[in-house]
Symmetry: C2
Subunit: 457 residues, 2 copies
């Protein structure tokens, strides 16, 4: 097997230019999933992925239609007894607008310095092609040491509306030991990173109703509880003076951070100064007793995402509004459950809302948090792969946001994901001049090759 | 003089039909001040007022142009040594739209039952003609017992933009002992009412800034103080748990209610049930220790008139907004000063705003409260006049809203106003099917006649 490792690495080095050209091919297809004008491009991109999977020697390649954009499935199950890894990816991209801010055509990949510029270069055609090429290197040097399945969708940038149904209907086909999700990145080019936790979400709309209609603040100011003020009072009570969320029972299920995990997080090369620079806020804020990284990655939060009430135009209008609205969302961590947080919000309002207003809560969206065992064989295999290529122990990160597909795979397929891709924080993802740092990309292909080999050994 | 009183009353009774026809004439002129298409109607209405003042025998009648609509000024100063009363009015009206909701043409006055329906019938051509006819009755029966000046503007319904400048430039011309402002009404047809206090206003826009730009609540939730939450916390702190406004020093200048004034207010024929019905709120709210009438009329308040932050459309967006805005206004009572309330708000924010946000306050509008001495000769004269006509002691009311011209006359001319007109609460002012209750109108003309006579005796 060490022999194959050396052969595979030699193959990678010998084919860099070919890999780069393959990436250029798919980046030239403007597979913008949100725009019906690009339906044919979406079809071409799916076909490109399917063709390349066939060329790799996959035993089965299918393009499944969905209500919108097709899912490409492929498999190679020639390693009986070895683990099966499901490689996730998406071939669709964000729109390129505003076009005038691009230095080169977003769909004519252009190399400048060490970077390749194109829409999707980092998010995530670059990562899909990296996985294809790692598998190619092994297929060309004696075969894969593990079984692989591929699930490459075309709707990620529009919220993956078909994916849950597809996974549910094809759960047997997609059965695997774990997933590899390279829709992610490094903290910096010298800082290889594994994301092992993602926060969940519970999103609500809270409406407070006071008078039956807007009132003149002169004629009625002093006799009714202003709903905008009542809403503010309710929101103000949702945190205590330690920055903790005050919904009853909110922390009951929160998995505490182990000393070991806190030590890993303390190694992360971003800290307060990073967050100050990224946010531009006058000072940081948060739950007492936790570092900024811990607060973003491993602690739950409550935010107000929107407020609306009464008169909001220029000038003044002396109205007591009939109602006030807040969009309120909680980022959740293991083992909080979105539906329980909903109940906690209702209980908070039942206990704290005054009798002189009415209120209603709509639950808009819920997703559980996810966390993977950092000591699982799959994550250990990736940890060793990254250390081999970068010469440094990787960082373990818990991310504050959600990757819905990771939660769906956990719920529907019952598998954890190894989240590790090779984008960089300054890749301009979803923005003009998106790029992939090519040296990091080549390292990524090597790391994925080691990863697959490590899974066997 | 008693002789003149009887003659004047007889004159009134004999001329009711003529008065009603005169009112019909001016109500037929669609003097809508906000609509440039009615500029000629505005001119005609001003001319009608000036012609009628001349016909009364006023010694001087002038139509002063302004930047928009003319001011009609008139005077009769034939009672040297007697008080001079400045009668305020406006000849402009609100637009009549929506026209389809009117049962008869808004500018073709129509009598149905005891009411005369037309735009401006109550607000306030009816009140202007009532004053003209009271003066006519006295001029026709021996002359006026006091000196009168008239200030009849054409911009009240668009906020009187020219009036302050006009009063300042013509302060000598307008010099008087007090003003009569009949742009008001009774609490009910059997409840004659004198308004002797009006609240003032201090209106602000408060903006709270957090991060330099909107942030993803997953990536940054937990490290910045959400500006919408910080704003809610600041607003929540603006009242204490007794419903009192918590700006520092807010009550320092508030004139306390005397036992006598509270007893007068307790007589008012409106109370909690009235406010519950009018507002449709689930329960009343307000400063502990005061009745609803006291809270609306004689106690200052702080209301939020608008809230805006972040994402407010349908659905969900996981944003930490960069800023949040509240429109905040205080209703003021004597002797609070709007500019001091501005300072109190700034001090509250300096003392309470956390260092992790920035804030700014814009002062939008300020107007002092006004109150008249209920025992002044002018108000006593009106009190006796109403009691004579209605056979019941009038109610003394402090209104929660503002009548800006009353404050301007106080500030610019240094005079108090007797606020007493003869509209009713169900007159549909500013709405379709505006009307004037004619029996109340005739009583009003009688009351104004007694009032003018009472001023002398």
């Amino acid at each position: 097997m060490n022999n194959q490792r050396e052969q595979a690495l030699a193959y990678l080095r010998a084919h860099r230019d070919a890999f780069r050209r393959a990436l250029g091919e798919i980046l030239s297809i403007p597979s913008v999933s949100t725009d019906p004008a690009h339906a044919e491009d979406i079809r071409r991109a799916a076909a490109w992925v399917a063709d390349n999977l066939r060329a790799l020697g996959m035993q089965r390649v299918d393009v499944f239609p969905t209500e919108r954009h097709p899912v490409v499935y492929a498999e190679w199950l020639g390693a009986p007894g070895a683990p099966t890894v499901l490689i996730y990816g998406h071939y669709d991209v964000q729109p390129a607008e505003p076009l005038e801010l691009w230095e080169s055509d977003p769909f004519q990949p252009a190399e400048r310095g060490e970077n390749l510029y194109a829409r999707g270069a980092s998010d995530m055609k670059g990562q899909v092609v990296a996985a294809l090429k790692a598998v190619e290197a092994l297929m060309q040097t004696g075969g894969l040491p593990v079984n692989v399945k591929w699930l490459i969708e075309g709707e990620e940038e529009i919220g993956s509306p078909s994916l849950g149904k597809f996974m549910t209907e094809h759960a047997d086909l997609l059965a695997c030991d774990f997933a590899l999700n390279p829709d992610s990145g490094l903290l910096g080019k010298d800082w290889p990173t594994i994301t092992y936790g993602l926060r969940g979400l519970a999103y609500f709309e809270l409406r407070v109703h006071g008078p039956a209609h807007d009132l003149h603040s002169g004629l009625y100011g002093g006799v009714v509880h202003n709903p905008a003020i009542a809403l503010a009072e309710l929101i103000a009570g949702m945190h205590d003076d330690q920055g903790r969320v005050a919904l009853p029972g909110f922390y009951d299920r929160v998995r505490p951070l182990s000393d070991e995990e806190r030590a890993e997080m303390a190694r992360l090369p971003v800290a307060d100064q990073h967050y100050l620079e990224q946010t531009g806020a006058p000072a940081l804020y948060g739950e007492a007793g936790y570092t900024a990284n811990e607060r973003v990655g491993a602690r739950p939060t409550l935010d107000v995402n929107g407020l609306l009430s009464g008169f909001t135009g220029p000038g003044s209008k002396t109205v007591i509004p009939a109602w006030a609205m807040a969009k309120i969302s909680c980022r959740l961590v293991p083992d909080q459950r979105p539906e329980e947080v909903h109940q906690q919000l209702l209980r908070y309002l039942e206990e704290n809302a005054p009798a002189d207003i009415r209120w209603e809560v709509t639950s808009m969206h819920g997703a559980a948090a996810s966390i993977s065992d950092r000591h699982s064989p799959a994550i250990r295999a990736m940890e060793r792969a990254l250390e081999t290529v970068w010469g440094t122990r990787p960082f373990f990160r818990r991310e504050g946001g959600s990757i819905p597909v990771v939660g769906q795979m956990q719920t529907i397929l019952g598998v954890e994901s190894v989240i590790c891709g090779f984008g960089l924080p300054d890749d301009n993802v979803h923005a003009p001049n998106e790029k992939q740092h090519l040296p990091t990309w080549y390292r990524g292909i090597e790391a994925l090759t080691h990863f697959l080999l490590n899974l066997k050994s």
